[in-house]
């Protein structure tokens, strides 16, 4: 998946998107953390994407992104600002748990 693409991913996969811009310091830090989380992730069926909020502004606004960095999980804005690794993992786990129960 190309960087910055807003194309929805396969519905079987969990889409985790970091919205950032090149010009904000917090975004650069968030981008490094995001890349580290992606490389260390133990979750299966996850697509990690980093999206340039300026290039994909309609997509960002449709999810309610009002500042960067921001993270959407499964098509919903979950964090504005970069969460700790622990909080992000918990949010992913919560999403997988709720999705699993709703699929039953």
């Amino acid at each position: 998946m190309a960087l910055g693409s807003a194309t929805p991913v396969n519905s079987q996969l969990l889409d985790i998107v970091l919205f950032s811009t090149s010009a904000c310091d917090n975004c650069r830090r968030a981008s490094r953390t995001f890349a580290q989380l992606r490389s260390e992730s133990a979750f299966d069926n996850i697509v990690w994407r980093e999206v340039d909020v300026v290039a994909e502004i309609d997509y960002a606004v449709s999810l309610g992104v009002l500042a960067t960095p921001a993270i959407a999980i499964g098509g919903k804005l979950v964090f504005t600002g970069m969460p700790t690794q622990q909080r992000l993992y918990e949010a992913i786990q919560d999403h997988l748990t709720s999705k699993g129960s709703s699929d039953e």
Binding site: T21, S22, A23, C24, D25, N26, C27, V53, V54, A55, I57, A60, V61, G64, V65, L66, A67, T68
Partner: protein, 132 residues
């Protein structure tokens, strides 16, 4: 009860005095009370009605439509069916406009926040420059 001269109302609502007289002439406003000297004295209720007319005009409603909406505003429980339908239709238009404005507000908020977060200038302007 408060009363206001036509000049004061015109300034307050940024409408011309001719427009105020015209609204009265075509029945959008009731017959305005007059002082013994003959000058018009607008009440708070008249001002409220004028504000409604102005808001409706900003939504591009016609004066005829606004007249019908004012009938509904004056007596909603006894409005004719066509006036009720018109009001429902106009409500949908207002809600649609609100949804569009909400998206625009969020987009502008994002842009302002992006510029505020950037030490190296405004990424939005940079982006526009890149595209031209």
């Amino acid at each position: 009860m408060n009363s206001y001269s036509i000049g004061k109302v015109a300034r307050q609502l940024t409408l011309s005095m001719d427009t105020l007289r015209y609204y009265e002439k075509i029945g959008l406003l009731p017959k305005i009370n007059r002082a013994t000297s003959g000058i018009r004295l607008y009440s708070d209720k008249d001002i409220s009605r004028l504000k409604f007319i102005k808001r409706a005009q900003q939504m591009n409603f016609t004066l005829t439509e606004i007249g019908n909406l004012l009938q509904m505003r004056d007596d909603p429980q006894h409005a004719r069916d066509e006036v009720r339908q018109l009001t429902g239709c106009k409500l949908q238009q207002v809600e649609s406009r609100l949804a569009e404005l909400n998206i625009l507000r969020n987009e502008l908020t994002l842009l302002v926040n992006l510029c505020a977060a950037s030490r190296q200038g405004c990424p939005i302007i940079d982006k526009i420059d890149e595209e031209h």
